[in-house]
Assembly symmetry: C2
Homo-oligomer: 469 residues x 2
């Protein structure tokens, strides 16, 4: 699996002194059990687990700070852990150390409905937040698929299906509470919607994947639930037609809330998994938010555009149960696709390009998969120029894995050549470190490295991720 090795030279067993000090702080919320360590040494990437030496379950920012101070004193790696749903090896304990599990920090700290903001502990998941604010008439739009924690979503700059309309964690995080590498506690912002007050610490930590600080609280923007929601689905004879319909929709400024592309392989999988009968052709799935009239107007405009691109069977779904069935199928797509090749493991990757290059990037990547005989599917948040490739490989066949990694590397090179990025929303983790250099160039990477060295001089925060020390 292109598996990096936990470098023995960098690993040293936790000292008894550190373990004793952690024990004093966390008591039975400290674990060195193999099963617990193994659970925390994996994510949803294709990597084999890499185990931390110990796991602590923190209940407050102060506990996180205390744990980090101890680890700093002993120069031991610290890895924050939310729901373990990252995709590029973000939480694997490459150099061992202590994983801080934040899932017990699951309190909604404050809901300010009148200001459209909420402050939550890092372990609160997006579904939990939406559940807790349901009665306010507001919702939190960012939806990366998995029911991830808000801390993890901030740390990986997550986005997902609604980003085309509502932005990503980059735009929707107002402030963070962060524990620094030396165990200080800082607040990076306020609840003001905008600010010109000094360096943008919030966005220094958003997307830093636990390598610059540990996020313990997140203040996010909320949005009024739209008066009306409708969905539409239509198929196209070719992927190019589908993507070009999206490009024109965006260029015309139609404020679609979601627009998802599914290739024919994805459609086939969700038909099987969710007992649907969608035409097994490239498909677009739209959602519109607005007033009753506004939603109708948007859908009509999109229907006209789709028709110009040879759409087949533009269907509306305004009833909640129909919308929900379609979107549930979309959300199940990942699991549906895992069944394409039983016994295989999934290599999942993503990239993001300027939208005018999207059709070309998807088609060339698809052709590359086919040429290499890789069972794959492509799904995209195409309104943003972002798409995912899921490749099913035999983990025991190095040639198979190499073919998939080759497709991945060429997709990334293609995206970068188009002035796009090696990852739109999955993040870098361990898997895309060399692509990051390719994308940014050595001089920009050097600037990133200086920031890392300034904020984590002992390299204890999630070492071995994003950039080489």
């Amino acid at each position: 699996m292109n598996q990096p090795v936990q470098p023995a030279a960098l690993r040293k067993p936790l000292s008894d002194a550190l373990l004793a000090e952690l024990k004093l702080l966390f008591d039975d919320r400290l674990s060195t059990a193999h099963a617990v360590r193994e659970h925390h040494g994996r994510d949803e990437s294709s990597y084999d687990p890499m185990l931390p030496d110990a796991v602590v379950f923190a209940q407050s920012t102060e506990e996180v700070a205390a744990a980090v101070k101890l680890c700093s004193k002993h120069a031991v790696p610290v890895i924050p852990y939310g729901t373990g749903t990252s995709l590029e090896g973000h939480v694997l304990a490459l150099q061992g150390g202590v994983t801080i599990d934040l899932s017990h920090m699951n309190q909604v700290v404050a809901i300010h409905a009148e200001d459209l903001t909420a402050t939550v502990q890092a372990g609160v998941t997006r579904k939990q937040l939406n559940q807790e604010i349901r009665d306010t008439g507001l919702f939190f739009p960012i939806d990366p698929g998995a029911d991830a924690s808000l801390g993890g979503m901030a740390a990986t700059r997550a986005s997902g299906t609604n980003a085309v309309r509502y932005g990503t964690m980059r735009e929707n995080t107002l402030a963070l509470t962060v524990v620094t590498a030396d165990g200080r506690i800082i607040k990076t912002g306020t609840r003001a919607r905008k600010s010109s007050a000094g360096y943008d610490l919030t966005r220094v930590f958003v997307g830093s994947e636990g390598t610059l600080g540990i996020i313990t609280e997140v203040t996010v923007r909320l949005y009024p639930q739209p008066e009306a929601i409708s969905a539409a689905v239509c198929s196209f004879p070719t992927a190019a037609d589908a993507v070009n319909a999206v490009i024109q929709t965006i260029q015309m400024g139609v404020p679609v809330a979601r627009v998802e592309f599914l290739d024919e392989n994805s459609v086939r999988c969700i038909n099987a998994h969710d007992k649907l009968t969608l035409p097994e052709q490239p498909l677009l799935l739209f959602e519109f938010h607005g007033s009753e009239h506004g939603v109708k107007e948007q859908a009509e405009t999109v229907q006209q555009i789709a028709a110009e691109y040879n759409a087949i069977g533009f269907e509306w779904a305004t009833r909640p149960e129909d919308r929900s069935r379609l979107w549930t199928a979309r959300h199940n797509a990942y699991f549906a696709m895992l069944q394409m090749r039983p016994g295989a493991r999934a290599i999942s990757t993503d990239c993001c390009v300027p939208i005018s290059r999207l059709a070309e990037c998807i088609l060339d990547t698809k052709a590359d998969c086919e040429k290499n005989g890789i069972i794959h599917s492509i799904i995209g948040h195409v309104g943003d120029g972002n798409f995912h490739v899921l490749m099913m490989v035999d983990p025991h066949d190095p040639a198979d894995v190499a073919r998939a990694e080759g497709v991945n590397a060429r997709m990334v090179a293609r995206a970068i050549e188009m002035d796009g990025t090696c990852t739109g929303e999955h993040g870098v983790g361990m898997h895309k470190m060399e692509f990051l250099v390719q994308e940014h160039g050595v001089e920009a990477i050097e600037t990133m490295r200086r920031i890392k060295h300034a904020l984590d001089p002992k390299n204890i925060l999630n070492p071995g991720k994003i950039i080489q020390w």
Copy 2:
């Protein structure tokens, strides 16, 4: 004027060697003439000028890099200069040094209409950009009032009237070309609309006011010109009514493109300046963008809300000339207000609070002005919770200046207490450095300082701004 002193101890005259080296590079685009230095040693703040020792007019990123390399070698301050429209002393040469004027870097590098992006040199102004893209059907929304350069707007994290709908420079800058303190050239991003690829270097430099690097190119998002635009204006018996109408508009999710509050003093000034006959009461000025029907629907909703808050005379302006007359008057407000007290100088300040606290913050600040007998006006981008206070003071009367600075300090303290920020869009410059500490706390400031030290170890980039070395 609460005027900081250029510290003699920190100033050393430029060496002949450095001047000779700059002369070789810039020839007659190097100036040490007093008039040129004085022009570059001031902005629109109330500070007296502080002159750099020399000014160079750069024509390319490479020239900026060469100049910075020389200044770095000689450990001499470097200050980037765009249009000089900053408001908090950002470009004043507190420690002397070399100002790099970027106004000759005024080329639009690339317009990618199909991707809704444009890349410009730092000296391109927002009006120039909008002029150059007019035929594409797109526009660049950020409008801080002044016809600022895009480089300066990025460096100060500018926003303005449209931010409530389209965001600020924080959200709309996709990538920057930056010259680092040691004269390297880096690109901070790509043209992809979103990315999870590494540290967010773009937002490290956006808002850093020339203290972390010199921005030489900016890639921004563009938006389709709306199908329909309409404006509306209405007066209210009290400022509280006006602001509460805005709060409800935002909470209901009406996607207003602009909503500006003007207090009765502001209205009086623009009536006099622009020969208008608006009722001299608190006033809201709205702009709606959307489809023909959508715009009508938004305006009707807002009219209903305004009526609930005792609005007087809700008037629509759909004809471009009427809209333009109202918004021109709004844009002239700053100059109109300067005429309130001839011979006086303006102290301009801003803050931003969670919107539920906005009415209280404005009213308390207004009461404080009145209690202190300060001729003032308040204008706000109230959809974001952001407002400006303009206070007219006699620069030769220290007590008058002290009263105004007292109002400013109490306004900031009030905003911070409300979980808001000491500046929504003006920036820190020299004037708000102590407030920055008040807002963020010493630990967060320490993190900012570590970033500054890491990226500018010799403290040559716009020294003495944002944070104390």
